[in-house]
Amino acid sequence: MNESNQATISTGNNAIATAAKDAKVQVVAAYPITPQTEVVEQIANFCESGALDAKYIPVESEHSAMAACIGASIMGARAFTATSSHGLLYMNEMINWAAGARLPVVMANINRALGPGWNTWAEHTDSLQTRDTGWLQVYVSTVQEAYDTTLMAFRIAEDKQVYLPVMINLDGFALSHITQSLTTESDEKIQAFIPPFQLDHAIDVTDPHGYGTLTSSDQYVHIRYDIERSMRASCAVIEETEREFAKAFGRTYSWTDEYLCDDAEVLIIAMGTLGKEAEVAVDILRKEGIKVGSMRLRWFRPFPDLSDRLIGRELVVIDRDYSFGCGGIIAGTIRAKTGLESYNIIAGLGGQEVTYLDIASFVKERKIGKEVWFGVDETKAGYEISRSDV
């Protein structure tokens, strides 16, 4: 029992596990994968030690992890899981199912690159590949934000106006394995903040229904539209939850984390830890007289309405992801939502080292409408390195 709030240190992974415990999850089904393992280990420890009263299901795959969360949720229990990269994509079928079945499952995804070759470091292409599934997606940049956002995720997902699953994303190793300060909150305050789990369409043997039966096109269209309707309704729920969170715990969050944006002529847009590091680049560039600000995106689904904030400024968008044959996914989404072109830097793939000095140089070298892969010499072929020599 946490009787009062406590200031300590924690890794990003431990913050996620602790938040799941403090949110009193009831069923956890998870499968280990680097760099998520510490989350699973911690939760299994919490369950065995009695620190958390929950059923932990040590499933045999990520597909089954999400399947079990779906089963637990529809039976009326608060369900949680965590995964990464290949695990996330292995459960992709059930990720779609959870959203389609309107189940408020909460999942942490520790962002990691996809093979081949084997690479366990940070990249956002894994979760961004699941952006069209009906899950709410949020990207965090500090250990405290990981904890706080996980607590908020349960309240948002379980709101009747939403009833959609939420995915909290944090950079593999860059955030999952680093240690920062963390203030955890008391049980009493958390329970006042997150209402008890209540799923109106949970299975009830005294009122039998068929779930997910054969559905005609006409009915199906309406069921799908309802997902979008709830996605839109979630905007107000997110804002309300973040407001209430600030009131209860004193820490403020929003759609974006903005740093010196108000008078900025140039905006650096990024997600995750790179979005935080960009603030240091802003300080350096401001000293050189460049009016620049940093806008770190937190919520990617629903994607916020940023038009008023973006129009009239030069945009430098850092994508730690890529959609082959199209471009950076954040830059593409901003173009789709606002019609604005940007200078799109593809940087940080597979954990590529990107420093605040690099980010400052992106701003100085910006050419709006152009896409550049950081660290890539376009005159050289790279495919040879994908095949090892004996």
Binding site: A7, T8, I9, P35, T120, D171, F173, A174, L175, H177, I178, T179, Q180, S181, T273, L274, K276, E277, E279, V280, E353, V354, T355, Y356
Partner: protein, 175 residues
């Protein structure tokens, strides 16, 4: 901002040492980030951890290129890795060693952490534990207070030998 690079071998507790440093600095009222750099290392392979300490929240996640302090938990690594790479001109070094190191322009401290661990019986599965003694040595060279070192260790470990070893290391750091 004060930046530290810690060199150890996989299994020696370098990652935990980095966490302890962050916790001790945090107990001193500072902001701190400890970031182990993970490759595909296994037991025995050289491992690097980065620690940043500052009065303000730390926003940098990239690796430390020019450290203020370099800690070497296992001096045999120095044969494999240039552990002093990028060390600031006025930078400091702390090495786990029985004998002094002569590093011309740098302030070099040494302490026999292995000997201390063996002396107080701080051995797990046949391996001397270095991550708690090093915290005492770091308190001595002024990274954080002796009290914060003690409370950080007591928060993370129950065995009093850890504090005992740290306090011994505090007294035995030489320049």
């Amino acid at each position: 901002m004060y930046e530290i690079r810690l060199h150890s071998r996989g299994g020696q507790g370098g990652v935990t040492a980095a966490k302890l440093i962050a916790l001790a600095a945090f107990r001193d009222g500072k902001h701190a980030t400890a970031a182990p750099f993970y490759g595909a290392e296994r037991r025995g392979a050289p491992v690097v951890s980065f620690i940043r300490i500052d009065d303000n929240p730390i926003k940098i996640y990239s690796q430390i290129k020019k450290p203020d302090l370099i800690i070497v938990l296992d001096p045999s690594i120095m044969e494999l890795v240039d552990v002093f790479d990028g060390l600031k001109e006025d930078g400091t070094v702390l090495i786990n060693s029985q004998k002094p190191f002569d590093l011309a322009q740098h302030e070099a401290h040494y302490v026999d952490l292995t000997g201390i661990a063996l002396k107080v019986g701080l051995v797990v599965a046949g391996t001397p534990i270095l991550n708690t003694p090093v915290i005492g040595a770091l308190a001595k060279i002024g990274l954080f207070s002796r009290d914060s070192a003690r409370s950080a260790i007591e928060e993370m470990f129950t065995d009093p030998k850890n504090t005992e070893a740290a306090m011994l290391a505090f007294d035995e750091v030489h320049q």
